[in-house]
Amino acid sequence: MRLLYSICIFIFCLLSPLFVSAQLQVSLTQGVDAPWPIVVQPFSEKDPVSVGNTTVSKIITNDLRNSGQFSLIKPDVKVAGSAAEWKRRGANSVLLGEISQISRNKYQVSIKLLDLYHKSLNSESGSNIILQQRYTVSKSDLRHLSHIISDEVYEKLTGVPGAFATKLAYVLVNRTANGSSRYQLMVADSDGFNPQVLLTSAMPIMSPTWSDSKNLVYVSFEGHRSTIYWQNIATGKRKIISGAPGVNGAPAISPDGKKLALVLTKTGNPKIYVLDLANRNLRRITGGSSIDTEPSWSPDGKSLLFTSNRGGSPQIYSYTFKDEKIKRLTFDGNYNARASYLPHSNSIVMMHRDGKLFGIAKQNLLSGKVNILTRSGSDESPSVSPNGSMIVYAKQNGQSGILSMVSADGRVKLSLPAQAGSVQEPAWSPTLR
C-alpha cells in the first residue's frame, strides 16, 4: 500500500514540472487596421532642391499619405530629431534623406529608413536602419526618383510593392471655341503630375489601355470609323492592330503581351474576340444576340471578364479558355460593368449601380460579397494599380470629369489635381521597372 502511494507521488512529482516549465504561449490575432505612423524629415535644409513647386520629401510625404497606409507625423524641423522625440510624437518609422548636387545636372540622393522600435523603449540606440539607398539622377528625374523612394518605403513597411512610380493614361476632352470637342490621349505620373499629350484628335479617343509599361493601345475614331491603335509613349510611333469593318472596341492586351482581346461586330452585335498578335489569328469567344463588351484578362491569362446584357441588365461574366465556359459573376445591383481583377486577391473591381447611383464596387469571387467603395453617383471606368492597393476612376463633377482614387479597402479617397477639361477612362500602367 505504501508502495502504491509512493508510486503515485513519484509519478505526480514527475509530471508536475511539465505544467510549470513549458513556455507560456500568448496568441495575438487581433490587430488594428490603421495607418502606420511615420515621419518624413525634410531631405535638405540648407539647400532645398525644388522639384517644380515642391521638394523630394514633400512628394514622398504626399505619396505615402495618399496611399492611405500611412499617417504622416509632422517632421521636427528645428532639430535633426532624436529617436526619443520621434517616438514621443508617436512615430514607428522615420525617413531621413540627403540631397547633394554632385555636378551641374547631377544630384545624389541618399535615404535611410529607421525602425524606431528595433529595441527596448528605454534604449536610446533602439532605432535601426532597415532601408538605406543612394541614387544619382539628373534634376528632371528627381520627381520620378521621389516616387521610387516612396515605393521602396511602402514595400519595406507594408510588404506590398509600391505603385507610385507608375503612370496613368486617360482621355481628356475639351470643348473648343467653335462648339466641337477636342480629344486628347494623355499620360501622367500616378499622382497626376507631368501630364503629357500623346495624341490630339477632333474625333473621339476611347478605351486607352497599357500594352506594357512603355506602350499604349486605344481606340480612335479618326477617319470616322473605330480603329485600334498601338502606340509607343516615348517615340509616339504607332500602328493599327485592328481595323475590321464595323466596331473595333474595348482592346485588352493579355498579360503575356501576345494576344489582344477586343470587341468586333462581325456577326451584327458586339462580341468578344481574341486576336493572336503574332499570327493574326482571330477567334470569337462569345456568341448569341446579346451585347458583349469590355473584356479584361485575369492575371494568369487563363480567363476573361466581360460585360454582357444576356441576362437582361448589364452584368459581369467570366469566360474560361480551357473549357470555354461562361459564368455569370455578378448578381447584386442592376448594372455592373467594366470589371477587372484585383491582383493578390480573389476579387474583381467594377462599376456598380444599385438603384440610381453609379459607384465603384469590389466583389469577392469566393463569397460573392459586394463591397461598395465609392458611390458618388457618377463614378466610372475603374482601373486598378499594379499592386492592387488603389483604384483610379473618373468622377463626373458636373460637366467635367476628374481623376479620383480610392484604396482597395475603400478607406482612402482622393481626387488628383484638376485640369482643364473632362477626364475620361483612366488606365493605370503596369510597374515601370
Binding site: M1, L28, V32
Partner: protein
C-alpha cells in the same frame, strides 16, 4: 453462508479435516461394538444335575439317600445359586464394564466434540480476526487513497486557479499588444510569426526576439513594434505567477483585424 473466494479453499480444507477427524474417532468404537465386546461365559458343566442311585438297605439307604439327596439337592441348589450368583455377577460386571465403556466412550466423544468445537471456534475466531484485519487494512488503504486524492484535487484546484489567472493575463497581454498592432485587413490571414518576449517585473518589455518569421518582414516588424509600444505589459502581481511571464512566446497571426483607431 457467504465465503469469500480467498478463504473457500481453507474452509473446505477445514471441513475435510473435521470429517476426517470424526471418521477417525468413530471408526474404532464401531469396530469395538462389533466384535470386541466381552460376553459372560457360563460353563454348561456347572449346571449339570447330579443323579443319585438307590441302594438295597432301604431306609438307611433311603435315609442316607434322602440325606444325600437333600445334601445333594442343597449342594446342587447351592451350586446352582452360586452359579446363578456368579452368572448374575458376571452379567452385572459385564454390564458395568459395558456401561463404563459406554460412559468412557461417550465422554471421549463428548471431549472430542468439545475439542472439535474448540478447534472450529478457534478457526472461526482466527478467520474473524483475519477478516477484521483485512477490513482494517482496506479501510486504511481507502483513507490513504482519499487523502491522496484530496491532496491531488487541492493541487489541481490550485493549479486551475493559477491557470485561470495566467489565462486572464495572457488575454490581457494580447489585448494590450493588439491595440498597438497596426496591420492591414488585406493581410494574408495564413501568415504567422513567433517571438520570444522577455519581461522585467512590472511588465516592462526587455526584448523581443523573432524566433520564427512569417516570410513577410513588414508583417513581423508590425508585431514587434506593437510589443515594444505596448510596454509595460499587464502581468500578475504574484511573483510566482509572474515568473511564467518572465519569458514567453507570442504567436502572431492576422486572423481578426478590425478597423478602428489605434492606441498609437
Amino acid at each position: 453462508m457467504f465465503i469469500s473466494g480467498e478463504y473457500k479453499k481453507a474452509f473446505y480444507l477445514a471441513v475435510l479435516l473435521h470429517i476426517l477427524l470424526i471418521a477417525l474417532l468413530i471408526l474404532p468404537s464401531l469396530q469395538a461394538s462389533k466384535g470386541g465386546q466381552p460376553v459372560a461365559h457360563i460353563s454348561p458343566k456347572a449346571i449339570k444335575i447330579v443323579k443319585t442311585k438307590t441302594v438295597s438297605s432301604k431306609d438307611v439307604l433311603a435315609e442316607v439317600k434322602a440325606i444325600k439327596d437333600r445334601d445333594l439337592a442343597i449342594k446342587v441348589a447351592k451350586e446352582r445359586a452360586i452359579a446363578l450368583a456368579n452368572k448374575k455377577r458376571a452379567e452385572a460386571k459385564a454390564k458395568a464394564i459395558a456401561l463404563k465403556k459406554a460412559a468412557i466412550k461417550s465422554e471421549r466423544l463428548k471431549e472430542l466434540a468439545k475439542q472439535l468445537k474448540d478447534i472450529q471456534l478457534k478457526q472461526q475466531q482466527d478467520r474473524k480476526k483475519q477478516q477484521e484485519l483485512l477490513a482494517k487494512k482496506l479501510q486504511k488503504q481507502k483513507q490513504e487513497q482519499v487523502e491522496l486524492q484530496e491532496r491531488q484535487e487541492q493541487n489541481i484546484q490550485q493549479k486551475a486557479q493559477n491557470q485561470l489567472v495566467v489565462d486572464q493575463y495572457k488575454s490581457k497581454i494580447a489585448g494590450t499588444i493588439g491595440q498597438y498592432w497596426l496591420v492591414s485587413r488585406d493581410m494574408d490571414p495564413s501568415l504567422q510569426c513567433k517571438f520570444v518576449i522577455r519581461l522585467a517585473p512590472g511588465g516592462v518589455v526587455l526584448d523581443v526576439t523573432l524566433q520564427q518569421g512569417s516570410g513577410n518582414d513588414a508583417f513581423d516588424r508590425s508585431a514587434k513594434t506593437a510589443v515594444y509600444k505596448a510596454s509595460p505589459l499587464p502581468v500578475p502581481q504574484d511573483s510566482a505567477l509572474f515568473d511564467q511571464f518572465r519569458e514567453f512566446s507570442l504567436i502572431v497571426s492576422p486572423k481578426n483585424v478590425v478597423l478602428r483607431s489605434a492606441a498609437i
